[in-house]
Assembly symmetry: C2
Homo-oligomer: 525 residues x 2
């Protein structure tokens, strides 16, 4: 498939009219063809009108048809073959094996949502049968189901050019919920976006769905992104990216005449707490393994362990010594974009210049452009508690160890943390009491709590929570990864006294979808 | 029990220091004793600190203990006996039978939430067992449950001094979720608030819960209300009231360093659509019954039918004629407060002065103060479509009939409506196609759709949705009435690789709470 450099609005390929966007191969700084000219407000408007026209039909598609659509998207993505892998590698600087794995995750994710759609639990069907004889007032027949919110705007993320971009988790969960999707492509990987967008476009056609179910727009965040979130046809949005970018769009979503849910996954430093007995037993091993997690994807994971909090002493010294050695032998890695690399250098330099943080080690310097040099810093708990800027995320493989004088100070550091995607305990049996004391704090701080694992590596499954208190996300009640992500794009509707002929399939008396309903307070078996 | 005129902060009774608040008996304009002196920011801070201290313990109470607490509150409210009824009647001007019924609803609501707490579905427990042999990567043991958001601020509503005030739906659902609650009492019924607050306070003590689980503060919205929503210890808020009041607090909630969910139930005109065959068959009956619904509670229900949309012609004329007669013979009713009465008079006068609305009938004028005079107006669809101000809620028993020239124009009126709590179809079998055409529009506009019923009268049950798109509420994803209201105060947390000894009860391998979990994608029977 030849890249055309065009937006996809419904079934059309539309050339943009604004400034040209060129992907840059971050490994070489070479500019990649073709140019993607940015869209206008009118393009956004057209995509939104198409999505709106598609909405009422798409949200009532049969579960099997909708599941089949998601599976068809996965098939079409796989059918892109090596062209997709090559383009994504060139645009992201990520290794081929990583991109291949991410394609697998993306397609599995779509197929998992297909399974979720078929199971129908997300409809949350409830029935309170009529009680015509009840005194003093009869009760009408009452039924509830969930319906889709409306067209959803999705902002592609730079760090997962497949799994959290055009056909990523936000898109998959919104489509699963019955919402048409308009993706604002990330300017770092327009070619990858076009390829995946064409796969979705083809799936829409193959499944004979209304064309407005999917559109893909290129352009600046300022013009296209803001117009998209402000458009009255858009009823929710999903975003993964920086705190400043997320908050700017979030403010637009809240300032509309009709405010809408805006799901921004923004910043997290993912604290790791090696507890005393674990440190004592295997401090050096943990220190080495920690750097392995820190270096994954050049530290460009949302769940990268940017903070270690532990009680100081010989065992922590062993951890730090092993980590130092691992950092010093860390090869440099290509970062996603020149902008991300520059921000990383600035963040690392700020720590290096701080009189509150002591540099322990740096990794090898790379030869090419945009190389991420691993770095490790240490600070004291009192300095950390006194300086909020030490909690700022440095997006890349830099981490900070906070040395606490005792368990009480460690607890205070935990209480002072901002909201996080994850919090990790490294523990042995003898640490159980310490872990029990920390757990309530971590539950309040993070969406996912790990024991003896590393936060990088997010399983796509029913139980995953990739979310957490602000500023990790803008909405603590949700997850952006895993099947529960579908709930973000649904709302309950109650139907009172409707004749069976007027009821939607999910609510008809004969229960044609064979759902396990909550009837009169009892869950059907 | 003698009223003391004091705030309840934990187990203490605390005198306020700001301006005195006196309840007014709206039937007589007489001032009621005692004075309730308003609280300060320091009082708010103290209540928030107590709530915070109580939070970790209260959110982990055993299901049975928490359910028992809710039932104890209901028992304590009933134990207040006639004193509560008399005070609520005096402060609200509502008839005794209505207040007695509302007490029943309030206590039933608490007991229904107790049942919901015991059933434990709200925990939404999910398990993805470990797959240590999986290739290329093993899967850790992953579990998910819902936990409480944190301390919740509740704003008592004027129009349900029991069922949506101190121990009303917001409080019951937040306590059920495991959130401590701080209520800002509505200044229209401080004595009722104190009585119910003391009942909750007594229940906290009887159940040996941490005192910060409940506090009750009096004072101005500007000082106390805003301080409450802005306090960093508060993690969500529930509000029922005016659009301007709701939006002002909502903006504070969104402008905090850490924005929080703010559930405001604000304004709705609850359109009723009498369809042609139903009008033809029983236009006069429907017109009379409509006024019965319009007059309920002096029109001071959130679900009051403030709009009728139908196709003009002789059948609609019959409806209007019968409604006119019913309005003209409507007795006046005492409104809740002088302020609400004044706003009603202004709103009705604005319609009377409008050159777009024609006055059809007014009800009887009352003798006493604060009397609500029922009123009915008619407008054309073209005028309605051209003037958004005709959609403004007039809180009280005034309604507007919109005459459409045909089904297509009726559809356009439906499409132009703002978000609503309810939408009602009055239909016969022959109206089925017309109803089918309207249903998708109404699903997008309202949280509850009724057929051949009246929107006033909100059943407290599993299926109820008392919610809807903005401006009916600030969060379309939720309901403030019914058991699903508990979901507003919860968030998911994922536990990865935790040893069984560290897992919360709900997630332990032996499933001690006997929950029907989602295990590996399958719901347990």
């Amino acid at each position: 498939m030849t890249l055309e450099g065009k937006m996809l609005i419904g079934q059309q390929a539309v050339p943009g009219q604004r400034d040209a966007i060129h992907a840059i191969n971050p490994a070489t700084n070479a500019q990649l063809e073709p140019a993607y000219f940015g869209g206008t407000r009118e393009d956004v408007e057209q995509a939104c009108e198409l999505a709106w026209a598609a909405f009422d039909g798409y949200r009532e598609t049969a579960l099997e048809a909708r599941a089949g659509f998601l599976e068809t998207i996965a098939d079409e993505i796989e059918a892109l073959g090596d062209a997709l892998i090559e383009r994504a590698v060139a645009e992201s600087g990520l290794p081929q094996a990583r991109i291949q794995g991410e394609r697998g995750r993306t397609c599995n994710q779509l197929r998992l949502f297909a399974k979720t759609v078929r199971a129908g639990e997300w409809l949350d069907v409830r029935v309170d049968p009529a009680m015509p004889e009840r005194q003093p007032m009869p009760r009408a027949d009452l039924r509830q189901r969930h319906i889709a919110l409306g067209p959803v705007a999705v902002f592609g993320a730079s760090n997962f050019p497949l799994a959290f971009s055009v056909a990523g988790g936000d898109t998959a969960s919104a489509l699963a919920a019955g919402c048409p999707v308009i993706v604002k492509a990330h300017s770092a990987h327009p070619g990858t976006s076009e390829l995946v967008g064409r796969a979705i476009q083809a799936a829409v056609k193959r499944c004979a769905l209304p064309e407005g179910v999917f559109s893909l727009i290129f352009g600046s965040g300022r013009e296209v992104g803001q117009a998209l979130v402000a458009n009255p046809r858009i009823k929710a949005a999903g975003f993964t990216g920086s705190r400043s970018g997320g908050l700017a769009l979030w403010h637009i979503a809240q300032s509309r005449p009709e405010p809408i849910p805006f799901y921004a996954e923004m910043s997290s430093i993912n604290p790791v707490f090696p507890l005393p007995a674990a440190l004592e037993a295997r401090g050096a091993n943990l220190g080495e393994a920690f750097v392995g997690s820190l270096n994954m994807g050049a530290g460009q994971f949302c769940t990268n362990p940017g903070l270690v909090v532990a009680i100081k002493g010989p065992a922590l010294d062993d951890f730090i010594a092993a980590a130092r050695q691992a950092v010093e032998t860390s090869a440099s890695q290509t970062m996603l974009t020149p902008g991300i690399h520059q921000a990383y250098e600035n963040g690392m330099q700020q720590l290096a210049n701080s009189d509150k943080a002591r540099e322990i080690a740096r990794g090898r310097q790379g030869d090419g452009p945009n190389q991420c040099q691993t770095a490790l810093f240490v600070t004291s708990a009192s300095d950390f508690l006194g300086d909020e800027s030490l909690q700022a995320e440095v997006f890349g493989s830099t981490s900070l160890v906070v040395e606490c004088s005792d368990a009480e100070e460690l607890q205070r550091v935990a209480e002072r943390l901002e909201g996080q995607l994850t919090a990790t305990l490294l523990m042995d049996d003898a640490d159980l009491d310490a872990a029990r004391a920390l757990l309530p704090v971590l539950e309040r701080k993070a969406g996912r709590i790990l024991v003896n694992g590393w936060p990088t590596g997010v399983e796509v499954c029913d139980t995953m929570v990739h979310g957490g208190p602000f500023p990790a996300t803008s909405d603590v009640r949700t997850t952006s990864v895993g099947t529960a992500a579908i709930l973000r794009f649904l709302r309950p509707v109650c139907y009172q006294g409707l004749p069976d002929a007027l009821l939607p399939e999910a609510l008809k008396a004969s229960n044609p979808l064979a759902l396990k309903r909550l009837v009169d307070g009892q869950r059907e078996a």
